[in-house]
């Protein structure tokens, strides 16, 4: 629960936060280690990827601060049954660290986590990681040109540049349902799975039918006595072309790495083409919706159930789901889809508005994450003492998603408007890492104290982004975690991954103020 509290902390009112930020010691305390070139926050895919690229560029003095005692971020946390990536493994891996041994086209979370561990071993990253160091504050000292990270244990780390790689899906979110604390049975969040809990013979409720929910449900239906699925909004579910990788394929990739690269290219461009259906409302959107409806009609024969599962929004507006076994699982004798609104949670179960208390032994919350659309997970204090989360109250914004004016030498991974709706997150991440590397090289190589994006450049960039976003499916009227309560989209990038990569490949020095 501490993670949730962190998020709440970032949403505190202005005055409180300033006070809290002011109280924290920074330069007055003795750093536990001498200043490094780079401080990286988070040892998930982004943080480790940044570390690898730094090493490959010959920058060895960096530190990764990890709040947990293990690497892997989202993939360490999301170990629920059925957890898998929605992007083919050959694309959901780094191009600079290919893995020829993926067992399936869409690998499960354990295999992805193995890949992450393999990265740590392969690139000797362990010595750089400081585990159980939960950053409580990140503050810039302009005179010294140094970022100071203070952890909740009071430890202090300093670096000339900092990379915030804590991930957008780091903090799990419980829904605001009345009575959630009253429930006397077992409560499990998908991102904090309890592997010791035995579901055999249990009545289970699953709240949430998003990406995690539709992966968990088929697995629970296999073991639990009864599974009740509480759905608020049905999503678009597309068929999943999942298959086991034949041995000859692995051998080919091992012996001829170019063949794997070619496969990656093929996957990349096939996903790129999906942007035309998913991001913008086009004739291809209708085709994609037809495929989704065909999938539903083929797998669900009952008219009413089909109606309950038919989305009421343009495909792409919310995250597109992929599954072959979700619909069949819902139709098993021990499963039931419930679409009545939840009135409250009681001691024994979930009361829905049709007046019935659905009594269960366990409630699984597959309700996603606190995505920081308008805040940061800890106070980030810039060159004039300003706090990033406060500046973002009207909607988060950055330059090219990676730099924020007033916060020099700081690079964000998956910062504002960097989210993909159609392609691998790691493709976007690689572009971010390359861009950050260019900036870090300048800071370290040229001995810069300050590399700060100009605010006018940032404003112009965001004006353009919001103008482009207005024409996308994400902004077409549905509610999603991409948008803030006010409907502001600070999450997604309104274009092809190729466009994003092109903008990130172009590091314009004129856009920055240096000192």
């Amino acid at each position: 629960m501490s993670t949730t509290q962190e998020t709440k902390k970032s949403a505190k009112p202005k005055a409180t936060r300033k006070k809290a930020a002011a109280k924290k010691p920074s330069a007055s305390k003795k750093p536990v280690e001498k200043p490094t070139s780079v401080l990286i926050v988070g040892a998930g895919f982004a943080g480790l990827g940044m570390a690898i690229r730094l090493k490959q560029a010959g920058i060895e003095d960096f530190i990764i601060l990890e709040r947990d005692n293990a690497v892997g971020g989202t993939w360490r946390d999301n170990q629920y049954p059925g957890a898998a990536c929605d992007i083919p493994s050959n694309l959901y891996s780094y191009s600079f660290a290919p893995n020829p041994n993926w067992s399936r086209s869409f690998s499960g979370s354990e295999e992805i986590l193995d890949y992450v561990h393999h990265l740590v071993a392969e690139f000797s990253l362990e010595k750089h990681i400081r585990f159980e160091q939960n950053v409580a504050e990140l503050r810039f000292n302009e005179a010294q040109g140094i970022w100071t990270a203070t952890t909740d244990k009071g430890a202090i780390f300093t670096g000339r540049a900092a990379v915030m790689a804590q991930g957008p899906l780091a903090n799990c979110s419980f829904p605001a349902i009345t009575g959630i604390e009253d429930f006397k049975g077992k409560k499990i969040h998908s991102a904090r799975w309890d592997h010791d809990y035995d579901f055999a013979g249990k009545n289970v409720a699953v709240v949430g039918t998003g990406a995690s929910g539709i992966q968990i449900i088929p697995e629970l239906v296999k073991v639990a006595k009864h599974v009740k699925v509480f759905q608020r909004t049905p999503g678009w579910v597309m068929p999943r072309p999942d298959f086991a990788t034949p041995e000859w394929n692995k051998l080919l990739f091992r012996k001829l790495p170019a063949s794997q690269q070619a496969m990656r290219e093929l996957l990349y461009w096939s996903h790129e083409s999906m942007a035309l259906a998913v991001i913008w409302n086009s004739p291809l959107t209708r085709i994609a919706e037809r495929i989704g409806k065909w999938h539903l009609r083929r797998q669900v024969k009952d008219r009413w159930l089909r109606r309950q599962l038919t989305p009421n929004f343009t495909i792409g507006c919310k995250r597109v789901l992929v599954s072959n076994d979700y619909y069949p699982a819902l139709q098993k004798d021990n499963a039931k889809l419930i679409t009545w609104p939840i009135a409250r949670i009681s001691e024994k179960g979930i009361r829905t508005v049709e007046g019935i208390e659905h009594q269960v032994d366990c409630i699984v919350f597959a309700t996603g994450f606190d995505v920081s659309n308008a805040g940061t997970p800890f106070p980030v204090i810039g060159r004039h003492g300003q706090v990033m989360g406060e500046e973002w109250q009207g909607g988060a914004q950055a330059y090219k998603s990676i730099n924020v004016s007033g916060y020099p030498n700081l690079f964000l991974t998956f910062g504002p408007n960097s989210g993909p709706g159609h392609n691998s997150a790691l493709v976007y991440m690689e572009s971010q890492l390359e861009y950050a590397l260019k900036g870090i090289r300048k800071i370290v190589g040229e001995g810069l104290k300050v590399l700060d994006v100009r605010s006018d450049v940032q404003q112009r960039y965001n004006k353009g982004i919001q103008k482009r976003l207005a024409k996308t499916n994400w902004n077409s009227g549905c509610k999603s975690w991409y948008l803030t309560e006010d409907g502001f989209n600070a999450t997604m990038y309104p274009g092809f991954a190729t466009q994003y990569a092109a903008q990130m490949a172009d590091f314009k020095e004129d856009d920055y103020e240096t000192a």
Binding site: W304, V353, E354, G355, I356, E357
Partner: protein
């Protein structure tokens, strides 16, 4: 009654939820149902329960078509609330020994036809058609029938349940009339053109052909129960009174159409209307049950149990 603030209404709806388990279905008073009352009441309750469900299905269609997110959510709640009313009425039937095991009460043929129509076509109907028909059905059938029930049944548990049901229904009507007024705000001739285009829709004609005999059939049932039919007509006039209280409401062509139909309906001397419609009731009454398609699976969601484990 001025138009209501729908956002505040949604909050109110969320804050006033009740569950079947809030009522002690085994509390004393079940024996207050007289032997004479019992068989008629059984039929009456079955009809009432199915009318709730007709409303439920219409609200489900409205939720799909609602022009705003708030209304969509309100109708989603109303759909579930109508199901709750049907569940509560089933729980009363169970309490009074009117259900055998897990059997569902049988809807009459006219209700079955309207259920079939709703299931097939309601989602295709424009929001302003259902948005006007539903308040009429609620005020005429629900309103009149509930009043009659509370006048004749002494069981305190029945009164307790209907106090809650009526509270919900008053919110349904409040929203219903507000939406009717919202629909009357734009230029009426545009509405009229749109309406005429819709009237030509064969699905709607089929709906009207199911709606008219349903009302006459319910009138007959009400009379059979010993309720003066004037009470039903009074309730229907209430629709005209409340729906026509503002200029916007009066400008809604669907309100005008349904109001005029209501006037014709309550005029028993209008043979041009009643002879063919009563004939339709008779003809549909002859339809063998097994000739009707299988009930849609949403019908099977009904339960008298306050709790469920599977």
């Amino acid at each position: 009654m001025a138009s209501i603030d729908l956002d505040k209404m949604l909050e109110k709806i969320k804050g006033t939820q009740w569950a079947l388990s809030d009522i002690d279905w085994d509390a004393p008073g079940a024996d207050l149902i007289t032997e004479e009352q019992w068989p008629k009441l059984k039929e009456f309750m079955a009809d009432l329960m199915w009318i709730e469900h007709v409303g439920a299905r219409a609200f489900a269609a409205l939720a799909k078509k609602a022009p705003t997110e708030t209304l969509r959510e309100i109708y989603t709640y109303f759909h579930a609330e109508e199901q709750r009313h049907a569940n509560a009425e089933m729980a009363l039937m169970r309490r009074w020994g009117m259900l055998d095991g897990d059997e569902l009460p049988e809807p009459n043929v006219n209700l079955r036809i309207i259920i079939e129509w709703l299931d097939r076509f309601a989602d295709e109907m424009p929001v302003y058609v259902l948005g006007t028909v539903v308040p009429m059905l609620e005020i005429a059938l629900d309103g009149a029938l509930c009043t009659f029930l509370l006048d004749t049944v002494k069981d305190p548990v029945c009164h307790q349940a209907f106090e809650k049901i009526n509270d919900d229904e008053s919110r349904h009507l409040g929203v219903g009339f507000t939406v009717m007024e919202m629909q009357g705000r734009s230029a009426s001739y545009i509405k009229m053109v749109q309406m005429m285009a819709r009237v030509m829709d064969p699905r709607l004609i089929l709906g009207i052909a199911s709606y008219m005999p349903l009302l006459n059939k319910m009138r007959d049932n009400v009379i059979a129960m010993g309720l003066p039919e004037e009470k039903l007509y009074k309730a229907m006039q209430k629709f005209e009174r409340i729906g026509g209280r503002t200029e916007e409401g009066r400008r809604n062509p669907w309100f005008q159409l349904i109001k005029h139909h209501g006037r014709i309906m309550v005029n028993r001397r209008n043979k041009v209307y009643h002879v063919p419609v009563d004939a339709l009731v008779k003809i549909t009454g002859l339809v063998p049950r097994n000739a009707l398609p299988a009930v849609p699976s949403w019908v099977k969601e009904l339960t008298y149990e306050p709790t469920a484990t599977r």
